[in-house]
């Protein structure tokens, strides 16, 4: 496959162009390196949530997880609360991480139960459930902003290897894992089959229910992990910490070249999408444009890309 035909190629071109545009706009302050670091840091969070969302979206039309922000908040809040009561050593870190992942697993199972047992469309199921998760987070927060253990705070804000943020390394490692999962494993094949034609997949012996359950659980676990890391990075869990990640997770998936109709996932593209989105936003910021224009342009870009790239008049 020639390079410029790869689905993620144009996303990377766009990201690079955005980088140049923003760099030339930014007034001093460390120049390109600082911009790259910021892009990689914030992009990592988008990538992590985007990977999970991409997995769900790949399963076909109607599959979207709208509970990602609430799951992030819940996991971030509860895991930090747990760690706040411990000594701050290696066990604390492990406990926090495990608790976040377990919360993610629980959320994923709950989401899928609503979808499967109560036959609720995934969008409604995850949307309604997200309100419950949010309430749970609010209730357990009690207003105090608990700080993360210093070791985690340092790790998530640090750049110990080659000047690249640690978070980016983590996101990169996980991305590679997803790449292997989606492209080299039987599970990935089954997800893609279901996304292209769920009925044909079932007729070919694919265990549709089992695979669907797994994707929702993985997506929720990724959201929980992101919440955990974001809370440690920001010095505490805030109740609206996940707000922008709903649209962001969908956007980076679509911009990166995965098909919104399912069946086709693209891991490198997600990185390009994440970096592009961050750079666009910060470019708009550096133009001195307020939040209004930023929100508006973000929305317009998403819709334009979806309308052009993903729309289909007739299936050939």
């Amino acid at each position: 496959m020639t390079l410029h035909r790869a689905p993620w190629f144009w996303a990377w071109v766009a990201a690079f162009a955005a980088f140049l545009a923003t760099w030339s706009m930014s007034a001093g302050g460390g120049g390109g390196a600082a911009l790259a670091v910021a892009a990689l840091t914030f992009g990592s969070f988008s990538v992590l949530t985007g990977l999970g969302q991409m997995l769900v979206i790949t399963m076909g039309p109607g599959n979207t997880d709208l509970s990602i922000p609430a799951t992030m908040t819940l996991a971030g809040t509860l895991s930090l609360k747990l760690m706040g009561g411990m000594d701050g050593g290696a066990v604390t870190v492990l406990a926090g991480l495990l608790s976040a992942l377990l919360i993610g697993m629980g959320v994923g199972i709950a989401n899928f139960a609503l979808i499967r047992l109560l036959r609720i469309p995934p969008i409604i199921a995850t949307l309604s459930a997200s309100f419950l998760y949010q309430s749970l987070a609010i209730w357990s927060n009690r207003g105090l902003r608990i700080k993360p253990p210093p070791a985690l705070a340092e790790f998530t804000t640090g750049r110990d290897l080659l000047g690249v943020p640690n978070l980016a390394w983590v996101a990169l490692a996980i991305s590679m894992g997803f790449w292997v999962l989606l492209n080299l494993s039987g599970f990935g094949r089954r997800v893609s089959a279901i996304g292209q034609n769920a009925r044909a997949a079932r007729l070919a012996g694919v265990p549709v229910a089992r695979v669907s359950a797994a994707t929702y659980v993985i997506c929720a676990m990724m959201a929980a992990l992101t919440g955990f890391l974001l809370a440690c990075f920001s010095g505490g869990a805030a109740l609206n910490m996940g707000a922008e990640f709903l649209l962001m997770s969908i956007a980076v998936t679509v911009i990166g070249g995965s098909s919104i109709a399912g069946g086709n996932s693209n891991v490198p593209g997600i990185w390009a999408g994440a970096l592009f989105m961050y750079l666009i936003v910060s470019m708009l910021n550096s133009y001195g444009l307020g939040a209004g224009v930023r929100l508006l342009s973000t929305g317009v870009i998403i819709i334009a890309i979806v309308a052009v790239a993903s729309g289909r008049k007739a299936k050939p």
């Binding site: 039987g186 599970f187 007729l203 012996g205 265990p207 229910a209 069946g263 299936k315």
Partner: protein, 482 residues
């Protein structure tokens, strides 16, 4: 233009005329140089087996698509709608969330403004009373709450209802499939009245008694051509059945390989009564849409699971509607082929690429998939070759039972021959095939045949009794209309 008999009707200008009309779908020629005209007052019965071209003819007349060659014209009108052509199909053109009179509004453009409901109610009530006297359908009933029979009655009534453009030709495709005998009789009587008053009708049915009762002229189609077109009095029932088949050709010898194999014990038995022995090729025959595909799907789904996957499935499925049930359009040929055998190709969760390539290459040779590279996208293949891939997908598993949903429909003869050889070879090795086919030739080559009619098995044929006559006889209902 009111006429009391066919001759007088024929003098008036025809409602629709086909001149040399042909229709092809890709390589498939569904209709071949058909000349037909239907005049006011004529009641035309249209009969033929699967693939004869009946649906294509009807779709051309009702304007669903245009002919690939030749002409379809409506003397005195610009298109099918202005000509007063009404189509009543089995396809479900009602909106279940609307009431009966609201459904009328969807098709009739002049129902607008104040008091439209009264007008619509009157029209549909009149139509229902005219066609089905004694019915209990109210215009304000919701379609979703009605039985299948009632919604079919509504569709028929809408077809005959008074509207901005009067009905001049009504095309009915198996209209009595969901109606009981008494209601069917009412419909037939109405069609006769309608034609006596100057309307025209085309009537398709597998119930030959109905065709003889309602039609004054019968058209027999076969292989996309009209092979007989005469007044009803010129046909006998047996003669009609003979005309539909190839009795004149020498095709009713049982396949030579059918006797040569040793068949094993019974390996499956479905609730409908289908049975198969090990190594047997069992055919499901009968007119399309009489329950065969549903019986197959029920059996196959009962053998699998939504939650578990296995390396040793007990049954495997070959799709006929490859776009709906088979092909993964984004994938390569190789990936499509190995999908059902995925469980055997994974070691520790990862796919063994070498093994996968080996399977692809092996089956490419065995079944003859014409492509330079199995890594090419599957949509680069011709239809026939895509079908071969779906076959290979099933055969590449170890499943002892292969369920096939009319997979050779529309496939070229070269591909078919190759696949038939493959099937016979596999059967000789002990694989059992459950084969729903709408092609007489394929059915004639089975070891055992179950003929379906109206959702149930109407005949079970074995060995020398598998002949076209017997199958046609069992597919059509000879009984008199009530």
């Amino acid at each position: 233009m009111v006429s009391g008999d066919t001759e007088a009707g024929a003098r008036a200008a025809p409602v629709v005329m086909l001149e040399g009309a042909s229709k092809s779908f890709g390589a498939l020629k569904a209709m071949d140089h058909v000349d037909l005209h239907v005049s006011p007052g004529e009641s035309l019965g249209l009969v033929g087996h699967n693939g004869a071209g009946k649906s294509t003819l009807v779709n051309l007349i009702t304007g669903l698509f245009a002919p690939s060659a030749g002409r379809v014209s409506y003397p005195g009108a610009s298109d099918h709608r202005m000509a007063g052509i009404r189509a009543i199909s089995q396809e479900g053109t009602l909106c279940p969330n609307l009431t009966v009179l609201e459904n009328l509004q969807v098709v009739q453009r002049d129902l607008n403004g104040w008091g439209w409901r009264r007008v619509a109610a009157r029209r549909i009530r009149t139509a229902l009373d005219a066609v089905f006297p004694g019915h209990r359908i109210r215009p304000d009933m919701l379609v979703a709450d009605m039985s299948l029979a009632e919604s079919q009655m509504v569709e028929i009534a809408i077809g005959f209802a008074e509207g901005p453009i009067p009905a001049r030709l009504v095309v009915l495709d198996e209209p009595t499939s969901s109606l009981d005998a008494q209601v069917s009789a009412q419909l037939l009587a109405h069609i006769r009245r309608f034609c006596a008053a100057g309307g025209a009708a085309i009537f398709i049915s597998h119930m030959l008694g109905e065709v003889f009762a309602v039609a004054d002229r019968i058209v027999v189609m076969r292989d996309g051509r009209i092979i007989a077109d005469r007044p009803t009095s010129g046909f006998s029932r047996q003669g009609l059945v003979d005309a539909m088949g190839h009795v004149a050709d020498d095709r009713n010898q049982p396949g030579p390989t059918a006797q040569a194999r040793n068949l094993g014990d019974t390996v499956l038995r479905t609730p409908e009564g289908i049975e198969a022995r090990r190594g047997e090729i069992v055919g499901l025959a009968g007119l399309a849409g009489h329950g065969q595909a549903e019986a197959l799907a029920r059996f196959y789904l009962s053998q699998g699971s939504d939650w578990r996957s296995t390396a040793r499935p007990s049954a495997v499925f070959v799709a006929g509607d490859r776009r709906r049930d088979g092909v993964m359009p984004v994938w390569s040929i190789r990936r499509n082929l190995t999908l059902a055998a995925l469980e055997t190709l994974t070691r520790h969760g990862l796919i063994d690429r070498a093994a996968e390539t080996a399977i692809g290459t092996d089956w490419q040779k065995r079944i003859g998939i014409r492509t330079p590279d199995m890594g090419n996208p599957i949509l680069s293949l011709s239809g026939g070759n895509q079908q071969k891939v779906l076959f290979a997908r099933a055969l590449a598993t170890s499943a002892p039972v292969v369920v096939m949903d009319d997979p050779m429909r529309g496939v070229d003869i070269g591909t078919k021959t190759e696949v038939y050889d493959m099937i016979r070879h596999e059967a000789a090795q002990g694989r059992t095939f459950l084969w729903y086919s709408t092609e007489m030739d394929e059915i004639l080559n089975c070891d055992r045949v179950f003929v379906f009619r109206d959702g149930a098995i109407s005949a079970e044929l074995e060995g020398p009794r598998i002949t076209e006559e017997n199958i046609l006889a069992a597919s059509f209902e000879f009984g008199d209309a009530a």
